[in-house]
Amino acid sequence: MSLHSKVPPGELAEKWTNYRSSMPLVAPNNKRRLEVIVVGTGLAGASAAASLGELGYQVKCFTFHDSPRRAHSIAAQGGINAAKNYQNDGDSVYRLFYDTIKGGDYRSREANVHRLAEVSTDIIDQCVAQGVPFAREYGGLLANRSFGGVQVSRTFYARGQTGQQLLIGAYQALSRQINSGAVSMYNRHEMLDLVVVDGKARGIIARNLLTGKLERFAAHCVVLATGGYGNVYYLSTNAMCCNVTSAWRAVKRGAYMANPCFTQIHPTCIPVSGDYQSKLTLMSESLRNDGRVWVPKEKEDVDAIRNGNTRPEDLPEEKRDYYLERRYPAFGNLVPRDVASRAAKQACDEGKGVNQSGLAVFLDFADAIERYGRSEAKSQGLENPNNSDITKLGEGVVEAKYGNLFEMYEKITGDNPYKTPMMIYPAVHYTMGGLWVDYNLESNLPGLFVLGEANYSDHGANRLGASALMQGLADGYFVVPYTIGTFLSDEIRNPAISTDQRAFEEAEQATRDRLNKLISVKGNQTVEAFHRRLGLIMWEYCGMSRNADGLRKGQKMIQELREEYWNDVLVPGNADEFNPELEKAVRVADFMEMGEMMMEDALNRDESCGGHFREEYQTPEGEALRRDDEFTYVAAWEWVENADSVLHKEELTFENVELKTRSYK
């Protein structure tokens, strides 16, 4: 099957406007008769469900959480990008587009990314109107900060809780539609299968998590906004319940998975402290605005710090290697995530890691505290302030900017980052890969739309900071409410879809069999134990750097693990009751298959780009070596039962930007 991106014709900057004014519409009286299922209530799902409800569609919305407000989007800290150019620093829609394409290492679709940049400004307006309490300047106008990989200040934020505030805004809009009856909300319902009738996505099978009962839901089309699959690595910054099941079930029903190997490893996370660890905590990228990354130059200083004989804050300046500033003078500590993560790994591989396990580098705020302290002293008119005054004032400024992050760090580690540098290490954070979608955000399976982190669309091989929130809300508020009409305008003659059909029956039975099979193994090892092992395999062979031998080995190990899983997993309880262990068991089974597909994709992509670093393809200086002649395509994988997955290529054409080697030097 060939892949049609359905990118509309015309000039890049006019495509979306022209397309919007010419696309088929659904009249209000018809909207009332059309049903849409939205799975997920994160930024993408909640904004879509609310907006579709406002337009008059009948929406059924699902989340496995106990409330739509708990979606993983809530955890985003740093901010959301928009090309408002409120700071008058030369930002524009084009620049945001360009930064995103370049940041993604030229592996995303120009037209989608440009549209994202265009609607970014509407998102901020919408959120302000909803009451999102963004940070303000003294004059009452919106404040901005800058994020990694760019040279302008275009990130809007609400303290360190931007995701929470944006999600609460979308949740409130959704609540309003629930109240009006436009949206029926199903909490604690987990989608376990997609139902395809005559080649179109027409419904889902969901498990009522309170009762364990399997329920059928039908609609004219299905929207998945179910987030990313970073937890395939077990340890990640994602919330514990994030999973790939809904996307993976769609794959098993014929949807293609695009670029699954593109994973983002975030450079600034709290390092692993022990093997009981359940998740990793992100320290927002915004910290790199003020924090300086370093390791000691000499091995003896590394050892002294590791065994506690030297305090890092006492190590003299000339004995420190600020390796990002040294290697990338133009961007310094603000290089994109993939570059920063790899550099940290290299420093640690050279033996410079600063904690017991040798897997940590410093993020130091001492200079920022002094700089801010001096300028604050000046603005308060203090004559000859002494050092402790300066430190105090500086700490005040840093606290106002990052207070809750510093507090979080101290709660977890017991160290005070105002006084001693933070220790950080890269961790799995985000998945650029996801279900393949066209310009309408519709997958190759007609009637299946995919939004937010669950699709692969806008970030190429690497996502820039503060762009996931932007994409989730763009998809949900400003793209799918229009593009869904391209499908639904052909459905107005179709009455409500019935769940009394073979396809529903078959999907329900298949799901029941799968659950019963998991329960009936009654082996010796817990789901958690298997998940941890899967995570280690993924991290070792498909993590920050990859090579062909490792990937082959990893694939084989996963196959063996899968085999073992279905013969030795121990899931307590029954399928027809509240059973959190069974929920996990289903997810881990799907993660294993997904992990294998990620390795397959990584093996196929004989180049290094963005978050995908293949050791065989690097420059003499150890930078990523892209191979545009052969790999300027999206790899969309079709699952085939009991056989190798089939690769479909969507060639990417760049008409507006020139492919360059990314340089942040």
Binding site: G131, R159, K411, P572, F578, E581
Partner: protein
């Protein structure tokens, strides 16, 4: 460290439950929930029913985790959710009592898991600004004074966990409701619907069976986001004004 856990166990659909004792070996770097993970792995491996508890982000922001530890919602540490609590705050040999939120409006699902959908229903009747997608003016069209914006943000920090209800001897939801009312009322965009919002939300709160507020202040003391009780005073003023104006 060796610990004895006294945990509330209650089967689904059963109005009755009881405490059971468990021994667990933990270390001080673990989070409280990781300690419970260890317990659950042991239980599962020995063929027993693991303790059901809710959690997701494990970063103190999603509001999912919810348990009363030694009589205090979210445990002993000020301004901290259970998931952010680390074992270094406990000692070898401690006995720790763990219970679910207890409030009629939060029925127990199983063990430590409760149903907090009453909170969603309170928001649904009016905890929002009525604006459709695409109707918004430019973000900078309405300047918001920095101090007011910051106060609004303080109230908006509520994570909807329900600890305030669990802490309150009357099981009142006033801190939660007042946090939402204040978040929106402190912004010019939200002010327009003030009266309607406060009336609808308070009525729904009563309908859900939450108790009355008698100014005990336990909610503020236990709130992991340190939401101020001053919000309750603001709510009361608004509610009074709305009743006088006939909303």
């Amino acid at each position: 460290m060796q610990l004895t856990l006294k945990i509330w166990r209650q089967a689904p659909g059963n109005g009755q439950g009881k405490f059971e004792n468990y021994n667990v070996v933990a270390n001080e770097h673990m989070s409280f929930l990781e300690m419970l993970d260890v317990l659950n792995q042991d239980l599962i491996e020995s063929g027993k029913d693991p303790v059901a508890f809710e959690h997701d982000c494990r970063e103190g922001i999603c509001g999912t985790c919810s348990m009363v530890i030694n009589g205090r919602p979210h445990g002993p540490l000020q301004g901290t959710t259970v998931c952010q609590l680390h074992m270094r705050f406990f000692k070898d040999g401690d006995t720790i009592t763990i219970e679910p939120w207890r409030a009629a409006s939060f029925p127990i699902v199983k063990d430590l898991v409760v149903d907090r959908s009453s909170f969603d229903r309170i928001i649904q009747v009016g905890g929002y600004i009525s604006v459709n997608t695409g109707q918004a003016p430019d973000g900078n069209a309405i300047p918001v004074e920095r101090g007011e914006a910051s106060k609004s943000m303080d109230a908006a920090a509520c994570i909807g966990c329900g600890a305030c209800v669990a802490a309150c001897p009357n099981a009142s939801a006033m801190l939660f409701v007042s946090a939402k009312v204040s978040h929106l009322a402190l912004l010019p965009q939200g002010e327009v619907e003030d009266d309607k919002r406060v009336t609808a939300m308070v009525n729904q709160m009563d309908k859900e069976g939450f108790g009355n507020c008698s100014n005990v202040g336990a909610c503020e003391a236990e709130c992991p986001k340190e939401i101020s009780i001053a919000n309750i005073a603001r709510l009361n003023r608004q509610y009074l004004r709305a009743s006088l104006s006939g909303e």
